[in-house]
Symmetry: C2
Subunit: 120 residues, 2 copies
DNA sequence: TCAAAGCATAGACTATACTCTATGCTTGTA
DNA sequence: TACAAGCATAGAGTATAGTCTATGCTTTGA
């Protein structure tokens, strides 16, 4: 598919998709059978990849982190073991982030208590 | 205390503290008994407040969001009920963020499965 | 007492992640 | 076939959150 379809199907603007592509998060391919233009083709599998990028960004991962993860994940040179290590490292990061969220939640709950006791 | 002590005790640089103060996250007071300078005094209670700012930032809250929350929380004009509402709203946001984290975690776990099955 | 360290304000600079504009070529449709 | 819409690259502009520099006054300690 071309970039505008990718944009429609992922909900990410064409501009942003181009930015991501230049950043190195994914790559479209020039269709070599067509010589009159240099339009890029984007693979069906990118839809899922871009959904992951969106979600990862929303939970605060930087593009740089996402890039590193994707590069490991889809690197055919990398051993299965190394890929799993990269993914597991991210899962551990997520777990510690969740812990941090719970800590802030606790602070806010304590804040509610303080307000109820007229301490604020 | 003066700003450098506040910096040491919170681990936030003097520059960043000034940035936060100008942003409106908290306020130091000029000591009116001293007329030779305009050094600002920072209250002991700010330490906890700044810890909260740090944690909230680390979990992805913007300074603008943090400002709004603190303004409600420590606004003496605001009713107890409204304060609790503001705090509860943030707690709900945190819960939905945690859900989102778990969703990304699930994606990564599925990624590990795919790698193990040779799908990547 | 005088120099270093600390305080204040103001403004310039940086990084990240977009977002938009300009320009030019290609494609598709009335 | 003409012209709007789509594609591409390049580069400028924006918002957030710092981070740093300049300047000048004040305090403190050898």
């Amino acid at each position: 598919m071309l970039i505008s379809e990718l944009s429609k199907r992922t909900g990410v603007s064409v501009h942003t998709l181009r930015y991501y592509e230049n950043y190195g998060l994914f790559k479209g391919e020039n269709n070599k059978t067509v010589k009159t233009n240099n339009y890029k083709q984007y693979d069906e599998s990118l839809i899922e990849k871009i959904q992951l990028i969106k979600e990862a960004k929303e939970i605060g991962f930087t593009l740089s982190e996402i890039k590193d993860l994707l590069e490991d994940w889809f690197n055919h040179q990398l051993s299965e073991e190394k890929k799993i290590q990269a993914l597991e490292a991210k899962i551990i990061e997520i777990d510690s982030k969740i812990t941090q969220f719970k800590r802030v939640k606790k602070m806010l709950i304590e804040g509610i208590q303080d307000v109820k006791e007229g301490k604020c």
